[in-house]
């Protein structure tokens, strides 16, 4: 079943003026439930515009956005329900922490959903666990924490709403490699258990390659490519043309192919690359 479907969606900013900009143009996409979807594209390709559409934060100028087959704007008054089901984590979410303690901040979402104290507590503890927040930090003020810890707390605040679809815009930007692995690893574990859908928007081709089941490449507001990581990375040249970078490992295999040494070009992770090379070097 598809968690989210976009049918012929366009978003036009400043329509009818001289600076009219089509941020998205006739986009058709469907995201299957229980999957990790990676969205990549250059700066200004429409990634963040797309993210804001998914939970009804902005409205499409044309077309329909569907959640489990239902138009999310069918009853505009009930859009809040959509926002509980589709959790959106913005870029640099740590700037949005506002409560006195981490516990209060993380419980803000579930509280607004009208849950009981007991349920709220359970939600907060579960979210904190998967986001790698220590129990002893929950009573601390967000201002006492490092950037990485704040990022975790901000993501936990959305996870605590237990959404069906979790949309993360650059969740790991500005974190060191170990921190990246920890945050995304925890979220993937949570997602798997919950069988929810996770949409990761990132500039990091290496991260997208590593975590996604399905990849969408946006270019100038249009869907440029979509498919499994193997399908996407075997079309390396087209990715390069869309101002995107390839994982270093993919570049190596393209070079090896050029030299007539290897012929696989759909290599995108270190482990897979190692297996391929071992056969070659044996």
């Amino acid at each position: 079943m598809d968690a989210i479907t976009l049918e012929n969606v366009s978003v036009v900013y400043e329509a009818g003026t001289s600076i009219e900009k089509r941020a998205l143009n006739k986009v058709n996409l469907s995201f299957e439930q229980d999957r990790v979807i990676g969205i990549i594209g250059h700066t200004g390709s429409g990634k963040s515009t797309l993210a804001a559409l998914l939970n009804g934060l902005s409205t499409p100028t044309e077309g329909t956005v569907k959640l489990f087959g239902k138009d999310i704007w069918e009853k505009p008054k009930e859009i809040k329900q959509v926002r509980f089901k589709v959790g959106l984590v913005f870029q640099y979410p740590e700037y949005q922490l506002f409560e006195e303690t981490l516990y209060k901040d993380i419980s803000f979402g579930p509280k607004n959903m009208g849950l009981t104290e007991e349920e709220i507590n359970e939600r907060v503890m579960t979210a904190a666990k998967f986001c790698g927040i220590k129990d002893s930090d929950l009573e601390k003020s967000p201002f006492e924490l490092s950037g990485g810890q704040k990022r975790r707390a901000a993501i936990a605040g959305v996870v605590a709403m237990d959404p069906e679809v979790l949309v993360l815009d650059e969740p790991a930007a500005g974190l060191d490699p170990a921190g990246r692995e920890e945050i995304i690893g925890g979220l993937l574990e949570y997602r798997k258990k919950r069988k929810s859908t996770m949409i990761i928007i990132s500039h990091s081709m290496e991260d997208i390659a590593k975590y996604s089941d399905y990849i969408v490449v946006l270019n100038r507001g249009e869907v440029y490519m979509k498919g499994t990581p193997e399908e996407i990375f075997s079309r390396a040249e087209e990715l390069f043309n869309a101002s995107l970078d390839l994982p270093q490992i993919t570049k190596l295999f393209i070079e090896l192919k050029k030299r007539g040494i290897a012929d696989a070009t759909d290599i995108y992770t270190v482990n897979y690359g190692k297996k391929q090379l071992e056969q070659l070097l044996k």
Partner: protein, 282 residues
């Protein structure tokens, strides 16, 4: 001759609090291109702020171009010679129109209008934003804003530029462009470049890589020297470029491949050479 000299630096954010640096020494040579890496909380950004006198040492000394940052009378001179680019461009733009933002510093330096025009056009071209010179800054994407901020610093014609995770919000092409800009500024204009980054692929481009851990100098050397120590880097939460990781894994399995390979082309050369060696051994 060192452009930045750090001697016996001691620094804590709160009096009596945890010492971020406790007897730290580092010299940055004039005209050099240095990358500083380290996990979140290792002291990288604190160090950057100490470089240009935004923070002052509790003990010891930080000298820029022979001037101590603790000398208040020299602070203006220091900041003129040592520009800084931060991670979040929203905190750095001051004007509402791109070209006005870039002109801000030269105007304050009392440069004649005609020259300002030339400086603005030239610096915007350097960062690839000349088409946007009449655009509103708040409507640019994150990456575009960052490029304008870099142009703004370039317009001051500093002797040294410190990039504090300046590419964290850029897409791969933007990152490539900024890396290229850093290299050109260093090579063609003799500007001392210090870049603080989480992207190992970016650190590889520098002439010297300094690894910080818990306020100490953990490793210091050429990219090749530093990244050949994969095990040590991973022990402090860092990573090596994918290619280096792949070669480390293969070497651990007994394949006799060269150590410290960082780039795709070198990796392809080494694989070709390995196959040649294997065939001639037969």
């Amino acid at each position: 001759m060192p452009f930045i000299e750090i001697k016996d630096l001691v620094f804590a954010y709160d009096e009596g609090g945890r010492k971020i640096f406790d007897g730290f020494n580092l010299n940055i040579e004039k005209g050099s291109y240095t990358a500083i890496i380290g996990h979140n909380g290792s002291g990288k950004s604190t160090l950057a702020k100490l470089f240009c006198g935004i923070l002052l040492p509790d003990e010891g000394e930080v000298k820029v171009n022979g001037m101590s940052t603790a000398d208040e009378e020299k602070l203006y001179e220091i900041r003129k010679s040592c520009g800084m680019i931060f991670q979040n461009p929203d905190n750095q733009l001051v004007a509402s129109v791109v070209e006005e933002d870039v002109a801000f510093a030269p105007e304050n330096l009392g440069i004649p209008p005609k020259e300002i025009r030339e400086i603005v056009d030239k610096t915007l071209k350097t960062v690839g934003m000349e088409e946007y010179k009449l655009h509103a800054t708040h409507k640019l994407s994150g990456g575009q804003k960052q490029r304008v901020a870099i142009a703004g610093v370039l317009a001051m014609m500093p002797e040294c530029i410190i990039f504090d995770e300046a590419t964290a919000m850029l897409d791969p092409q933007g990152r490539r462009e900024i890396a290229k800009t850093m290299r050109e500024l260093n090579r063609d204009k003799g500007i001392t470049v210090v870049t603080i980054t989480h992207y190992m692929n970016e650190a590889v481009e520098a002439d010297r890589v300094v690894v910080l851990n818990e306020g100490r100098l953990f490793l210091d050397g050429t990219p090749r020297e530093v990244f050949s120590k994969g095990e040590e880097l991973r022990s402090v939460g860092l990573a090596t470029p994918q290619i280096t990781e792949l070669f480390d894994l293969l070497r651990a399995d007994g394949y006799n491949l060269e150590d410290g390979i960082l780039h795709t082309m070198d990796a392809a050369d080494e694989i070709e050479a390995y196959l040649g060696r294997k065939n001639s051994a037969k």
